[in-house]
Amino acid sequence: MNEKLAILWPEIFLFIATCLVMITGQWPSRAIRHLTPWICAIALTVAFFAAMSSPTTQGMFPAIVPYAKMLIAGVGMLILLLLSGTVDRELEREVDNGKAFSSIRSNRGEFYAFFMFSITGLMLTASADDLIWLFLALELTSLPTYIMVAISTNEKKSLEAAVKYFFLGALGAATFLYGFALIYGSAGSTNLNEIAQVYATNGISSIGMIGLLIAVIGISFKIAAVPMHFYTPDVYQGAASPVAAMLAFVPKTAGFLALMFILGTAGWASNGNHLPVELEATLWIMAALTMTVGNILALLQSSVKRILAYSSIAHSGYMLVGLIAGPGEAGGPFYQNGIAAILFYLLTYGVMTVGVFAVLASLEHRNGTEADDINDIRGLCKSQPVLGWTLVICVLSMLGFPPLLGFLGKVGLFTSGIAAGQYALIVILGINSAIAACYYLRLVATAYIDDDSKTRPTIYPSPFFMRKIAGVISAFAVLFLLVFAQPLVNGAYKASEYVPAIAGEPEHEDHHAQDEIKDNDEHASNEVAIITND
């Protein structure tokens, strides 16, 4: 129990802050109301440092918690910077003009509270070791985002997006919950380690395999992979840019962590360093379709947010390659380790996507609506050099342009795929990178090459300085993290350590006593040691 608590400190801090935020956001005094984001920032910082010293666990991924939570807190901080000013603009303006503050109309409290809930859920996903826990954590991650989409703007399209997102999200959740139920049915346990144990010992039964497949496809809603990707462009476009940035990072990270845990029960080792063939085939088809559909549909868009939504789909497809490759041989190098590549890519993707959305969020039309159309960023490098260059750098990084961070992330995925022998998939990945260049370079060219200032629609920087800062930090990270990449790579590598379950373990009646399982683990490894000694 204490061990579990030691892992959960970051979540506990975040939860306390969430409760505080709900109160301060509604406070009549303006100063205290404005404290709200700062409380979130403090909580994220504390969570970051608490995560740094998280102990290792006994699970399949014993070292994942510190890296994953530091990543979540770090990118979460960037998103928090971006969220400033999303809600209550009108209300605050009225209050400035002397009207009384009405807490009924204020959304600040719940907006930041939902953000914190979602981050908490994401961290809980990283700590999950049980199917029920995993389900609840995934839903805690997603449910607040539905409402955040709805209240992020005053426009009708946000409500429409939120409704779509909610219903389809519910469908996705129902799907993977069904899968979880089948897994439970086949393994007799909801504990992931025990399920892995059972699968390793008895093999995966048909019902278990169907459960795994349905769970994987269901969770792919979170990462926006084919066939669960349909909602993405509509929802991103409907949400305000800061919330869209959050949608690009938070559910995706949750989804990949969950997929790692679910696939970990089946194990990459069961089929000669490959996943079981059914899972591999499913993931293979999903990866190939996801990146192709994402990239190809992005070609035709004129809305930057929709382009980013499709690019988010495509990036999920890239990362699925790492999932197929798996952790490689135990103790193998970074470049053969697909899990490490995913963990590193999540960081990369989070930083660069926040950067691009920050640019969009920092621009608005005269009437206060956000920039979205590709014409809005025309000639941005000249009219708004800081934002323009942020956009150029982050988009080039998404393309995987060599000296930038995104390049290093993609290299990891490529090499892990090659090491796993997935040559056909790597060719598809390569072709897709080339297709992606079409629309990424279109964004770069639009921002960098000024067509004609007369045709440019009037676009102004939004009054929220923090959003610009978020963009600039992202651009700097993309530019300079490559130089300091070694510690990050080491961190991702260390976090990717995978301990497959050992076959031959007799099933245990008592699933509640954690200690006993630990003993059994030791017992099992002793047995193996004896066998090898003979």
């Binding site: 102990p55 290792t56 014993p62 070292a63 409704v163 779509k164 219903f167 389809l168 469908l171 996705g172 799907t175 093999g203 995966i204 039964s205 048909s206 395999m209 169907i210 497949l213 349905i214 496809i217 269901g218 809603f221 084919v226 066939p227 669960m228 349909f230 909602y231 462009p233 509509d234 079981p276 063939v277 059914e278 085939a281 499913t282 088809i285 999903m286 559909v293 990239n295 190809i296 549909l297 070609l299 035709l300 135990a330 103790g331 193998g332 190098p333 970074f334 470049y335 297709i435 079409c438 130089v483 300091f484 070694q486 510690p487 990050l488 080491n490 961190g491 590598y493 260390k494 350590e497």
Partner: protein
């Protein structure tokens, strides 16, 4: 994690190689690392990083000043303060150096392991005496020249001022990476960094087409050399498996080669190893402006003069010398590299000197003289005298910076006038005394007047070496002849511009310069006398910053004579001792025979050289050094006298043999008229640029046009075809994004079903499990 990597000393097994440490005892791991770092004898003190960090800080601050629209001299003072601190740090690095090279790691950079091989290149710095020697004059001169530039660039206060000092700081940082880096990748980073800064600063006046063209030329010509360097680095890694100095110089294979080379037997050294030196040499030729890649340096004078002094005379262009000195062990194992270096250096020295004789632009003369002097340094390297090369680098850095800055003062004061026919008697104008005197000191050093100048001693060391080393006597004579030419063209400038009747025509920057307030008051009566045609023009004499810097540099170039004599006489003095305790350590066996009974090698690297008939070279039956003092000393005096006769004014300023009474007429004109096309050829730089244009640039241009059309018609057509396909596909699947909720839900459920079905079919066909 981050702290852990900071503690990682360079020889630590990296984490990737040691995955067993993956379990959570992070703190324990950290403690071990720290303990190891503390015990490691080669880890240096962290404050050494200041030398690199301070210029970066300067760059960042200047960028901020630019962003906030600073319109004062604060950028200059910031830069001077930071660079001076860096110089003090370098000085304390020198004083605290204890005889063993050490490395200081800033952070882990590349740490890749594959199979049993590894590629490690950390962002760390390798400190030995060669590094210290170079960094001392780099940071010292950078500080002084920043002070000079604070005044010189004052007409550009505002954005341009910030831009200048930002690039200046970035240059010092890059140079520090180049010189201090502990691996070839850091060297390459610095190499490209100084190239970039050079480009930025040559093109500082970016509205002037000639400056932009010069910047591009410098960048492109340097690319050729950089390609050689990059290939050399790559080949080093391929052959020796490491790019880190400490490992490379301790490499067993390399020592086997050196021992083989010492017996004169190169047949057992693989061609691959011999090629490394040749490739690195190309890099050095590019950066240090050696034939045939020297053409960019004279054009680089388009940049502001402080830049010419620091980058294109004193520091950056000596990077090639540093490169060869640093990798001397590798050059020793190549049969042809050092002889080529010697000959190319000699040819460059002679060629540049002949061009310098016929130029009229004083800054350009100095530029050709830089090329020529760099030729001397390369000849020294080729003649197995790293000490001679390093000593000449050092003395040259001082006196050439001095000469450039004095020319810059003239340019600054006379509205950009650099034509020696349009200036005369500058030293006698009011307020110009210090410039006149310091310029004289600089000229004497460059000409190598015997006994009293440091340039004489460093040049003598090289010349003597040429006569001592068998087979290089020819080079010796060419270099002696070049020395006479050098004395001539140097004093040609001095006699024409600084002494004689006072006359000055302003340059074309008249309007830009004259209307700003600085120095106006004191200069009103200091104007040149009646005979100039612009009545409004008043040259402004240099202010205290320029004068101070000139005086300090003049003193430094005189005092550096002593560097050849203080400390350890058997090592060629202080410079010798600095070089001896580094990877450049090498003593020509001939020099040892000629002068020193026995040289104690306390160095880390066993050295040896080609063995031959070690008869010490004699010049006129004398010991080579004594003979050279006579020959080169007399040569220099002869050169000065020739210059005095042809260009000197009447009276003692022309040493009583001159006869010039007007600024633009002299005795040389008559000879030049009669000498046929030769002077014109020399003035037009032997048409080297035009020859390059004809045989290289034009064919390349034609080929590029052909490729352009192939690209446009054939490849673009194919690419457009392939680009068209995804769009067609996109049109086909686009309707699936209808935006209708029910449609999405059905698609999701349907997709799930189809996917499961397909997988089922696949699995059944492949006969898989379950």
């Amino acid at each position: 994690m981050i702290t852990a990597s900071l503690f990682n000393s360079f020889s630590m097994p990296a984490f990737l190689a040691d995955p067993s440490a993956g379990h959570g005892e992070a703190s324990q791991h950290l403690a071990q690392l720290a303990e190891h770092a503390a015990q490691h004898p080669n880890a240096g003190p962290k404050w050494v990083l200041l030398i690199v960090l301070l210029p970066v800080l300067g760059f960042v601050l200047n960028a901020f000043y630019a962003a906030f629209g600073n319109k004062s001299k604060i950028p200059a003072w910031t830069t001077i303060a930071l660079l001076a601190t860096a110089f003090i740090a370098t000085l304390s690095m020198f004083l605290s150096y204890e005889g063993t090279p050490y490395t200081v790691q800033a952070f882990e950079w590349f740490n890749l392991h594959y199979g049993d091989k590894s590629f490690v290149a950390n962002f760390s710095f390798y400190i030995d005496k060669l590094t210290i020697l170079w960094m001392l004059f780099v940071t010292g001169l950078a500080t002084l020249i920043a002070l000079y530039a604070s005044e010189y660039m004052s007409h550009d206060i505002g954005l341009g001022y910030c831009r200048f000092f930002a690039a200046f700081c970035l240059f010092v940082f890059s140079m520090a990476c180049l010189v201090m880096g502990d691996n070839m990748l850091m060297l390459y980073l610095g190499w490209e960094g100084v190239g970039l800064c050079s480009y930025l600063l040559i093109g500082y006046f970016y509205k002037k087409p000639s400056a932009v063209a010069a910047a591009k030329k410098a960048f492109i010509v340097n690319r050729i050399g950089d390609l050689g360097l990059a290939l050399g680095v790559y080949l080093t890694f391929v052959h020796f498996g490491t790019v880190q100095y400490s490992e490379l110089f301790a490499n067993e294979t390399l020592h086997t080669y050196i021992n083989a080379a010492a017996t004169g037997d190169f047949s057992h050294i693989p061609a691959q190893a011999q090629w490394i030196a040749l490739l690195l040499m190309v890099g050095a030729f590019g950066k240090s402006a050696q034939f045939p890649l020297y053409v960019w340096l004279p054009d680089a004078m388009e940049g502001p003069t402080p830049v010419s002094a620091l980058i294109h005379a004193a520091t950056m262009v000596t990077a090639g010398v540093y490169l060869i000195a640093r990798f001397y062990p590798i050059f020793l194992v190549s049969e042809h590299a050092l002889p080529i270096v010697a000959w190319i250096g000699t040819i460059t020295a002679l060629l540049a000197a002949t061009i310098g004789m016929a130029q009229f632009d004083i800054k350009r003369i100095m530029a050709y003289s830089t090329v020529s002097q760099l030729g001397y340094m390369f000849a020294a390297l080729g003649l197995l005298s790293t000490t001679g090369a390093a000593f000449h680098v050092l003395t040259h850095a001082f006196f050439k910076a001095l000469l450039f800055l004095a020319c810059g003062a003239v340019m600054h004061g006379f509205a950009g006038q650099l034509d020696l026919r349009k200036l005369s008697g500058v030293a006698w104008m009011k307020g110009w005394g210090i410039v006149g005197v310091t310029m004289l000191v600089g000229c004497m050093n460059l000409a190598g007047l015997p006994y009293i100048t440091s340039g004489f001693y460093s040049k003598d060391m090289i010349l003597a070496e040429a006569f001592i080393t068998p087979g290089y006597r020819m080079i010796g004579w060419i270099l002696v002849f070049t020395a006479i030419l050098t004395a001539y063209y140097t004093f040609r400038v001095y006699f024409r511009v600084f002494v004689g009747p006072q006359h000055a025509e302003p340059g074309d920057e008249h309007d830009d310069h004259d209307d700003h307030a600085h120095g106006e008051e004191q200069n009103h009566d200091a104007g040149p006398h009646g005979d100039h045609h612009s009545d409004h023009f008043h040259p402004h004499a240099p202010g205290w910053a320029i004068n101070t810097v000139l005086v300090i540099l003049a003193c430094a170039s005189m005092l550096s004579i002593s560097l050849a004599y203080i400390q350890k006489a058997e090592h060629h003095g202080w410079v010798g001792s600095m070089v001896a305790e580094s990877s450049a350590s090498y003593h020509s066996p001939y020099a040892a025979e000629a002068h020193y009974a026995h040289v104690e090698h306390t160095d880390m690297h066993p050295v040896a050289g080609p063995v031959g008939t070690a008869a010490p070279g004699k010049v006129f039956g004398m010991d080579a050094h004594a003979g050279m003092i006579l020959v080169s000393g007399l040569g220099a005096i002869f050169g000065v006298l020739v210059a005095a006769y042809f260009h000197g004014p009447k009276g003692w300023q022309g040493l009583f043999i001159g006869g010039r009474t007007e600024s633009d007429k002299c005795r040389m004109d008559a000879i030049a008229r009669r000498a046929g096309p030769l002077p014109r050829l020399a003035e037009n730089k032997w048409f080297v640029d035009e020859i390059y244009a004809a045989i290289l640039v034009t064919p390349l241009r034609i080929i590029s046009h052909i490729f352009h059309w192939i690209d446009k018609l054939l490849l673009d057509g194919l690419v457009n075809l392939f680009g068209f396909l995804p769009r067609v596909f996109a049109w086909v699947i686009r309707p699936s994004q209808s935006g209708v909720l029910q449609g999405y839900a059905v698609s999701m459920a349907g997709g799930l079903a189809v996917l499961l079905f397909v997988v089922l079919v696949i699995v059944m066909n492949s006969g898989g499990a379950a």
